[in-house]
């Protein structure tokens, strides 16, 4: 999508963003008048949302005397970016909000998210305490390579296993599946069928939407497929591996018969015992632990040549403001939230990007039990399937249920299109996306 330069709204956004560095580098902008209420947008609506709300409440309680408060506003995830863009276009963007590393290239390119390298130093944010991986994931090499996100958590997708089902099937919970063969053995042992139909999925899947898409994405990368080359110039590298992965997902339903297409809500279904192995993220932990589900989390098995899984990094991004003094207050808030993210990364979501938090002796014992959250943290070592950091990142993401990828794959899952046709369409569309920048 192209935009003319020299246009009123865009001029405002770009000018404000580019002026930010020089304007703030030599001398600090005057601080906004206190008391100040920062507007914070979030799309966290899973069980992690409760913990995040608690974080904000903790901040407000701790900073009341300093005259800085955060007003949390929930925005639906699928509308989030559009609303931020619209708000920025009118000069009324929220002060800061939740972002996912790699998905905000458009916001960075258009100057809606503020580059944070210089600002964060002024705000005394200690970059040395952040892991290199997290800081690297928060940048967009194609668009200036500046830091556009303060990392808050690192997440990997790992299988949660219902331990009641494991016991019932006579499996040894201490020896979880490590590869494709054992994974399918476990899945078969825990699957329940009635009249030839799967009524309890050994591997939790849905007939459409996100779950088969992300499964395909992980398996495809394990088999050697790449959505984009490292230089971001070639799309769908090794398409044959992508096709094999499509067949692998189809086989779960039709050949191995360990998954049902008829699950409507995967989260609910796993919680009610209608699925045995469910690969998902740490945002589910709080909900399942609270409801008393007997489960453990294991590492994603190796299905292809290399063990890999999906990686997601959540963080806070600052949006362009008319009143520059607000950045200081926003950074103060973000710093506090980052410094005090122990709760967030032990109960809310995945691993901490802060070395000091990871090094705390109670990091493994605090929060939810290690048997349910440990794999999410230990599995980060092979969680390398992140986002493609281009403006059309949302078309590439495997963690989606309604983007072009998911919709095209759905035609395969439902038998409407042959695998070859779907792969060709994906390749063409992605190549066009990469070519457009």
């Amino acid at each position: 999508m192209s935009h003319d330069s020299g246009l009123t709204r865009r001029r405002f956004v770009v000018t404000a963003a580019t002026a930010l560095g020089p304007a703030l580098a030599p001398r600090k902008a005057p601080a906004a008048t206190r008391p100040i209420e920062l507007v914070h947008w979030s799309w966290l609506s899973a069980s992690d949302g409760e913990i995040w709300r608690q974080m904000i409440e903790n901040f407000n309680a701790a900073n009341k005397s300093k005259g800085i408060q955060i007003k949390l506003e929930l925005v639906p995830a699928d509308q989030y970016e559009t609303k931020v863009l619209a708000a920025a276009a009118t000069g009324r963007a929220p002060d800061f909000g939740w972002g996912t590393a790699g998905l905000g290239a458009r916001l960075a390119k258009d100057g809606v998210t503020v580059p944070l390298d210089d600002l964060a130093k002024q705000g005394a944010l200690d970059f040395a305490d952040f892991t290199d991986t997290s800081l690297q994931a928060a940048r967009y090499p194609r668009y200036g390579n500046k830091l556009h996100l303060i990392p808050m958590d690192l997440m990997s997708l790992q299988p949660e296993v219902n331990l009641d089902h494991v016991k019932e099937a006579g499996l040894d919970a201490s020896k979880p599946p490590e590869d494709e063969t054992t994974l399918l053995e476990w899945a078969r042992a825990m699957t329940k069928q009635r009249d030839g139909k799967v009524v309890r999925s050994g591997i939790m899947m849905t007939g459409a939407g996100l779950q088969p898409t992300v499964t395909w994405g992980i398996v495809a990368e394990q088999l050697g497929f790449r959505r984009a080359s490292d230089d971001l110039k070639t799309a769908a590298v090794n398409p044959e591996a992508g096709k094999k992965a499509m067949q692998w997902v189809l086989d779960l339903f039709d050949k191995h018969k360990v998954s049902s297409r008829e699950v409507t809500d995967r989260y609910k279904a796993f919680g009610t015992g209608d699925g045995s192995i469910f690969w998902t993220g740490p945002w589910t932990l709080n909900g399942y632990v609270t409801q008393g589900l007997n489960f453990a989390t294991i590492l994603f098995p190796r299905i292809g040549a290399k063990r890999l899984t999906y990686f997601e990094m959540g963080g806070l991004e600052l949006y362009v403001q008319r009143e520059k003094g607000r950045y200081e207050a926003s950074l103060e808030a973000v710093k506090w939230l980052s410094d005090n993210s122990f709760l967030w990364t032990t109960r809310g979501r995945g691993a901490s990007p802060r070395k000091s938090i990871l090094a705390r002796p109670d990091y493994k014992t605090a929060g939810h039990p290690w048997k349910v959250r440990g794999a999410f943290i230990e599995g980060l070592s092979f969680a390398t399937i992140g986002e493609i950091p281009v403006t059309a990142a949302r078309e590439f993401t495997i963690y989606a249920g309604g983007n072009f990828l998911a919709k095209t794959l759905e035609t395969v899952w439902t038998g409407q299109k042959p695998i070859d046709t779907a792969m060709q369409q994906i390749q063409e569309r992605w190549q066009k996306n990469l070519d457009e920048g």
């Binding site: 999508m1 192209s2 935009h3 003319d4 246009l7 009123t8 709204r9 865009r10 956004v13 699928d78 509308q79 970016e81 559009t82 863009l85 619209a86 920025a88 276009a89 458009r106 258009d110 809606v112 009249d195 139909k197 009524v199 849905t206 007939g207 459409a208 939407g209 297409r261 008829e262 699950v263 409507t264 809500d265 279904a269 009610t272 209608d274 949302r394 249920g401 309604g402 983007n403 919709k407 759905e410 035609t411 899952w413 439902t414 409407q416």
Partner: protein, 300 residues
């Protein structure tokens, strides 16, 4: 709004404009202008920031090539074939039932109208539970009749039917009330005359009731067709258009294109196509039902 004054210059009475302005100004600002702007955006490429870039008919050409647009329009047609007759017939049956004035008819009237006042997302969420393949009450009930589980929302074959069921239940209230009001307007003497002439109940309904309901039928069908062409909330909440676009609608496609993908120009072009389709269908309907009354076998 002028006043002639015995050879003097005509004077404009601004108070009239002021009264009209209370409606006209907001209407122009919040309806006419956005519609015109939307029409303009349909010929541009625009992603919220910056100024729309003129691309002529490119968006329309793309829309005609886009398989998902075609599928969405086809789905809307299928929704229409499910929902419009469903709502019309059930609304009429319920109205006839309540019109009998049997005991508890007031309660029945409330029950039949109640779903209309519930918001669409709530309806959607309730029906997602009811239509769940494994533990939904609908499939549990069917199981008692020996019918196997139907994947109402998870298969390409049934998802559209599942959403239609919820829509019929939700949309029933207004047609029901309209039919009830129309039934109560039919003069009782006509039934008496028909009875004297030897007409049975079915003939009375065919030759007395139905002709009197013709304007209401026309209204209900027109309103329902338009409502169905704009179907969104139920789709969004119940299936999000899936699986594989089998339950998507044009508005749902416009929503995902504009709000999720931020292709506002393309979404506007599809909106213009939808507007054209609604206009065409409405005109055809008027021609068939209101002007000629063809399907009722009557000349106007």
């Amino acid at each position: 709004m002028t006043r002639a004054g015995g050879g003097r210059r005509r004077r404009i009475d601004w108070s009239g404009y002021a009264f009209v302005g209370f409606f006209t100004v907001p209407f122009c600002l919040f309806t006419i202008l956005p519609v015109l702007f939307g029409g303009y955006v349909g010929f541009t490429e625009w992603g919220i920031l910056g100024t729309p870039k003129w691309v002529g008919l490119a968006n329309f050409r793309e829309a005609f090539r886009d398989e998902w647009v075609g599928r969405a329009f086809l789905n809307v047609l299928l929704y229409g074939l499910c929902i419009v007759p469903g709502v019309g017939l059930l609304g009429l049956v319920f109205a006839l039932f309540v019109n009998q004035g049997w005991p508890l008819s007031a309660l029945a009237r409330t029950c039949f109208f109640a779903p209309t006042v519930v918001s669409a997302p709530v309806i959607g969420l309730v029906w997602v539970w009811m239509l769940d393949t494994q533990f939904g009450i609908v499939n549990q009930s069917l199981a008692m009749l020996g019918i196997g589980p139907v994947p109402w929302l998870t298969s390409t074959r049934w998802s559209l039917v599942g959403v239609s069921l919820a829509s019929i239940w939700w949309d029933l209230g207004l047609p029901f009330v309209l039919f009830l009001a129309a039934l109560q307007e039919v003069p009782g003497v006509l039934y008496e005359a028909a009875a004297v002439d030897g007409a049975n109940r079915a003939q009375q309904f065919r030759f007395v009731t139905l002709p009197h309901l013709r304007p209401t039928v026309s209204l209900v069908v027109t309103l329902q067709v338009i409502a169905t062409m704009r179907i969104f909330s139920q789709v969004y909440v119940m299936t999000n258009g899936g699986p594989a676009g089998s339950s998507s609608s044009v508005i749902h496609y416009i929503y995902t294109t504009a709000i999720v993908r931020q292709l506002l120009g393309y979404a506007s072009a599809v909106s213009i196509l939808l507007f054209g389709a609604i206009l065409l269908v409405t005109l055809v309907q008027r021609l068939l039902i209101r002007e000629r009354g063809t399907w009722l076998g009557r000349a106007a």
